[in-house]
Amino acid sequence: MTSSSLQDLWLTYQSTVAFIGLNGLLALSVYTTLSCGQLSLAQAAFMAIGAYVSAILTFHSGAPFAVNLAVATLLPALVSVPLGLPVLRLKGVFLAIATIGFGEVVRIFFVNLDYTNGALGLTAVPQRTSIWMIYAALGTALFVLWRIRGSRAGYALEAIREDEPAARTMGIDAARYKLAMLALGAAFAGLAGALEAHYTYMVSPSTYSFTRVVDMLVYAVVGGTSVFYGPVVGAAFLTALPEVLREISARVGLAPGPLRLFVNGAVLLAVILFLPEGISSLPRRIRDRLRARREAHAA
């Protein structure tokens, strides 16, 4: 392959590569709260806060981009604390619904905010994000989650996820851990929002809708939430899939939009029904299957 055709390839797919990283980070933000058994669907709102605040800083302050990103990471985490205090007392579906409500209120707030052009949002945001930044952010998030696993906090989180009352009788302050994970997830979402805004040149409220959170959740579940890197696998798979589907739909003459939707739905359904631990558990499953077959042979 010549270097120029490599370059063409890169030009064609670099935005896919960028979005794999961004979606991976967003999937991790859902996973982070899920890792102690909490389903928070406010992640799009945290993302919006990060995106808006960083874009405003870019427009109105001379602060370096790194400072913008830091603010966009910390502010959603701060906002998540007063949200989490009352809301994390809710269980299961009720928590999910309350966070959906919060997410919609935040989105509608931005739709009505004249300062940021209401429903149109901010356009011509300078491009500041490079792909390496996205992957550095993703790498950092993965690193943090990896180090939490197996630590004292990591065991506490697993205990809370499995049986919260029992975990508490072991002295684990479940409310504090849940709040901390909500804040960490909010930070990831805010950072992803800021990076995306400065990659796509724009911040528009419609980007941060319920549909977007559902996408994040789907990435996490399809990838698998029993290991910390599962959500990233899911995000990569489902973000790359449309590129493949585009080729296919052109050949068989179907509209790419519905085909993509259909395949997304079908993959999700298949995973939840037949692969409850997600596609990241496939290698292990195959290994187990092979070993079982070998043992059957030996016996």
Partner: protein, 292 residues
């Protein structure tokens, strides 16, 4: 003012129909069926096809679409919920499998009809209107409110007076106990999905008629409002959902009149959020299905 109230009741009765179906399944299974909105949307398209392409009159198309909704609901149960029953994470898993099914249905509709808004043919929708007091009321609004009230009464009768209704309530109370008493729990759940989705389908057709607007994403905003309604009414409570549906309709109409249309949607979610934080049981308790 009178006009506002009429408009609010009209909108609210559609919300109520949608939410009744939503909350019925929650009451029985403790699970949110996020494919409810897809059934709502698909059945609006079904009515559109029956009226627009097969030239059925509306009063014939409506029950056909509602029946179709019921069967679609049973299919949703079969595909997205029954296989997950008994799994430890069935709560979140059911949420996700129903999202998956909704996505598939939406994709199918977009493939067949395209992504754009479709309208009922001229003449399918009554356009006359009358004056009651100071308010202008269209015939359509009256019909919709009447249908909603009739279905609400029918549902109350079904749950209170029939054997099926008693069994549905028994399963809602405790699936285990119901099974011990010889109730075929899977069949009752299936029946609940039929009733629930038939109500959702009715709401979909009426919604399409009311705004003369049928589109693949019409269910999405209603889905979130429906959530607000069932939380406000108390999860699983039938009377609560009906009441809260009407209340939300009125609240939205008055918000538009007094505050501005761009805040209409904020009302639903603001209320939703506050109710969950301040009074998670909703207006009418949590287990009111048993008293329905």
């Amino acid at each position: 003012m009178g006009q506002q109230i009429v408009n609010g009741l009209f909108l609210g009765s559609i919300y109520a129909l949608f939410a009744l179906g939503y909350t019925l399944v929650f009451g029985v299974l403790d699970i949110l069926n996020l494919a409810h909105q897809a059934v709502f949307m698909v059945c609006a398209y079904a009515a559109l096809v029956l009226v627009g392409h097969l030239h059925l009159p509306m009063f014939a198309a409506f029950p056909v679409a509602v029946l179709l909704g019921g069967f679609l609901g049973m299919a949703v149960d079969r595909i997205a919920f029954r296989p997950l029953r008994g799994r430890s994470d069935s709560n979140i898993a059911g949420l996700i499998s129903s999202i998956a099914l909704a996505t598939i249905l939406e994709a199918a509709v977009v493939q067949v009809f395209g992504p754009d808004v479709e309208r009922f043919p001229f003449g399918a929708v009554p356009t006359r209107s009358l004056k009651i007091g100071g308010a202008v009321v269209s015939e359509l609004q009256i019909v919709i409110i009447a249908i909603a009230i009739a279905m609400l009464l029918g549902l109350t009768w079904l749950l209170r007076r029939t054997r099926l209704g008693r069994r549905i309530r028994a399963v809602a109370e405790s699936p285990k106990a119901a099974r011990v008493l010889g109730v075929d729990v899977d069949r009752i759940i299936s029946a609940s999905f039929f009733v629930s989705s038939a109500l959702g389908a009715a709401a979909g057709v009426l919604f399409g008629l009311a705004f003369n607007n049928v589109s693949p994403d019409m269910g999405r905003s209603v889905e979130l409002k429906g959530l607000a309604v069932i939380v406000l009414g108390g999860m699983g409570s039938m009377p609560g959902a009906a009441l809260a549906g009407v209340a939300l309709g009125l609240l939205e109409v008055f918000t538009v009149a007094w505050v501005g249309s761009s805040y209409r949607d904020a009302v639903a979610f603001g209320v939703l959020f506050l109710v969950l934080v301040l009074r998670p049981r909703g207006l009418l308790g949590s287990a009111a299905l048993r008293e329905a």
